[in-house]
Every structure is written in C-alpha cells, then in structure tokens.
Symmetry: C2
Subunit: 242 residues, 2 copies
C-alpha cells in the first residue's frame, strides 16, 4: 500500500549534491547511502540522457548500483519521482531569472527562463501540464502574479491575467518540447519546417487559405521569438485593461 514517507517533501528541492557528512558506514560497497536527493538527481540525469521513456526503476537502480526495490524506500512511486525532478528544475530555473526594470520585462524574463528550462529538459514539459497545482507550477504563478499586480491590474483581472500567462507559458513550452523531442537534431528542424511549409502551400486554396499564406513564415520562424511575441500580446491586453 506504500503510503509514502516522501509525500510531505518540502518544495525546497534544489539539485543538491551536498551531502550531510557522515561517512564510513560499515558497508564497503557504496559509502554514501541512498537518499531522496541522490535518487532525484540520478533521475534527472537519466531523463536528460535517455528521454522520458529512459526513466525506469531498473535503469535507475543500475545507475545507483542498487536494487529496483530500494528506490521505493525513499520514493513513493514513479509519479512522485517525476514531480520531484520537475520541481527541482523549475526552482533552479526561476532562481536564475535576472531582475528587471519593469513588470513587463520581468514577466518576459520569467517566461523565457521557463521556456529555456523546458527546452533543455523536455520531459519537464509533459510533467508540468499533467500535474498542475504542484510546487513547480505554484512558484511560477506567484512570480508572475506579483508582476501583474505591479502592472496595476485591477483585482478581478489580476487572477485572470496571471492564470492566462501561466497557462500560456506552460502550454507553449510543453508543445515546443514535444516538437523538439520528435525532431532530435537541429538540422532536421530546418528540413522539417521547409517540408512542412511546402505541404501547407500545396493545401487546397479554398479550405486552407490562411496556412497557405503564412507558409513562408512558418519555414523561418523562431520558436522562442514567437513565444515571447505571444506574451507580448497578453501583456498588451492586460495593460489596455488597466
């Protein structure tokens, strides 16, 4: 039944390689004991190296040179492990966001930080959208909300604006990561977009006039720039309502 010992795990979650001292256990094989942190770190490395499907308890156990069952002593199940790994990445990304002069700039910086973190760790994306209300999401929400407040949005609009920005940031990052995962090499991206643009141009003129028209733009668009452009629209809308 395994009700977890880790379910109340604090949101602190930083990558954490610092060990709390204490060596020379009688055991001679591994001198450092297993711990939640060590497991989460190994899981992150495994996810980054092998992708989402690469995280199995067997592979993780091998990396930690232990048995698969041992992991369950520290972690309730795979879902919790993924959530903890996600929280660690997001917390670290938010910690690196530089301070900004204006609220608008600050929001753009936060958005860019999350976007890049998910771009680097695509598996974080799927996790964020599947398990909302976790520590990682709330961190982003708070940071954005403070800036929306600073923009002078009225009471009712504050919640809506912050929610919209959060949803947009996570939504786009997830889709971007999903696409990146499907393409692998960056060389493929250019080739894929060129092919896709050609396909759009060949669509029926009556049924798909818009996509035919913007096909050339698709071929040479920059994902990050488009993402931030969307943030720009939302911010303009929020500013217009102040």
């Amino acid at each position: 039944m395994a009700d977890s010992k880790t379910s109340a795990m604090p949101a602190s979650a930083m990558p954490a390689s610092a060990k709390p001292t204490r060596t020379k256990r009688r055991a001679e094989r591994r001198d450092d004991a297993l711990s939640n942190e060590r497991i989460v770190d190994a899981a992150i490395a495994l996810l980054d190296d092998e992708g989402e499907d690469g995280l199995t308890f067997r592979a993780l156990a091998a990396r930690l040179s232990t048995g698969s069952g041992a992991i369950y002593w520290h972690v309730a199940n795979k879902g919790q492990l993924l959530a903890a790994a996600t929280d660690a990445i997001v917390a670290s990304a938010l910690g690196k966001v530089p301070v900004s002069a204006t609220p608008q700039e600050a929001i753009l910086e936060i958005a860019a930080g999350v976007f890049e973190a998910i771009d680097e760790h695509p598996w974080v994306g799927a996790q964020l959208s599947h398990a909302p209300w976790r520590a990682a999401t709330l961190q982003i929400f708070e940071r954005i909300g403070q800036q929306v407040q600073a923009m002078g949005a009225r009471g009712g609009a504050q919640f809506t604006a912050a929610s919209a920005l959060l949803s947009y940031i996570i939504g786009v990052s997830v889709q971007n990561a999903a696409q990146a995962r499907a393409l692998e090499a960056p060389v493929n991206r250019a080739r894929f977009l060129a092919k896709e643009a050609a396909r759009w141009q060949a669509f029926d003129a009556r049924e798909f006039p818009f996509m035919r028209k913007v096909a050339t733009r698709l071929a040479k668009h920059d994902d990050r720039a488009e993402f931030l452009g969307g943030i720009g629209f939302i911010l303009a809308g929020v500013a217009a309502a102040v």
Copy 2:
C-alpha cells in the same frame, strides 16, 4: 518494422457511427468486418469510459470481440490510433462551432468549442500537446488564422497571433482536462478548491503575497470563464497592434 498500411490515413476522420449497410444490429456476433473506423470508434468509447490508461489492445480487442493482433492489421500502432481518435473528436467539435458576427466572437466560439471537447474527452488534451502538427491541430490553426486575418492584423503579426491563440487554447484545455481527471466528481472540485485556497492563505506572507491575496478568487473561479478571459487579453493585444 511494421510499416503501416494506415500511415497515409486521410484526415477525413469524422466520428462515423453511420454504417453504410445494415440498420438492425443484432446483439450477437458481429457480422461486419473490422475497419479503421470501427476500431477508432471503439477506441474513443473505451477512452471515454475508462480513461487514458483504459485503452489497451487487449481491452480494445475484447470490445471488438477479436484478437489483439487483428487490430494491427488496420492500425500501425497505439500512437496512430490515439492520433486518429483525436482527429475525429476535434473535427467534430469544429464542425459544431456556430457562425459569428465578428472575428473576435468567432475566435471565442472556436476556443470554447475546443475547450468543451477536451473537457468531455480529457484524453484528447494530452494527445494534442504531445503530437503537434497533426490534422487536428492544423484544423484549429486554420480556423483561427482566418479570423485573425479578418481582424486586420498585419502580415508579421498574423502568424504570431494565430500561433499564440492556438497554443493558449490547447495549453489551457490540456491543463484543465488534467485537473478534471485528477478530481473526478464535481463535488470534489469545490472541496478541493476550498482546501487549496485555505492552503494558499496559510502561505508565508513574504514569499507568497500574491497567492495569499487571490486565494478567495481561486475558490470561486470558473475555469471556462477564466479561459475565455485569457483569450480576451490576447485579442485585445492583437487589436491594439492593428
């Protein structure tokens, strides 16, 4: 291996419950052969009944009273099957969107249609965000793009605006569906939100000032209204740039 016979499957994909031949269905042995359509329909029913995890080839085979391997004759793999089911739902949802007086209204209707479809079929959400560039996504993109064009957005902004709206719509719908899945009964929703709001209010005042402040709004917010509010911000931003 397994190069599929179905990989070039047309994007036509409508729910297709209309059988061309028989009208009387005898609750006995199936007299009609397996087909891509019948399999997709059964998969949709199974996904709706049992959720994402409920779709297994064994369960599907049982529902179709056949062997699990038989399905592979008509469908390349599970991914293709999910994609086909998703396309069917989205196409049907877009088909039901009423005509509108203004482009803004039209975009809101399209957004609401997709939102409700995903709310009804939560598994569609995960699929849309994991496999972009499929027929389902492109349908939505084209519909929105035409309206953005009608709003008078300039060339460069058209692609960005349509992309932002598409990403927002899919992103929010996905997160909404994920949350709904985690909660099941609607009674739980109110209780969950009340509890969550209380939790926010107990957060540290220095670290989480925003979430403390909007906690009461969280408790009584309406997901669909918030979603459309976000669309409103984007539309206002786009209109401001015209």
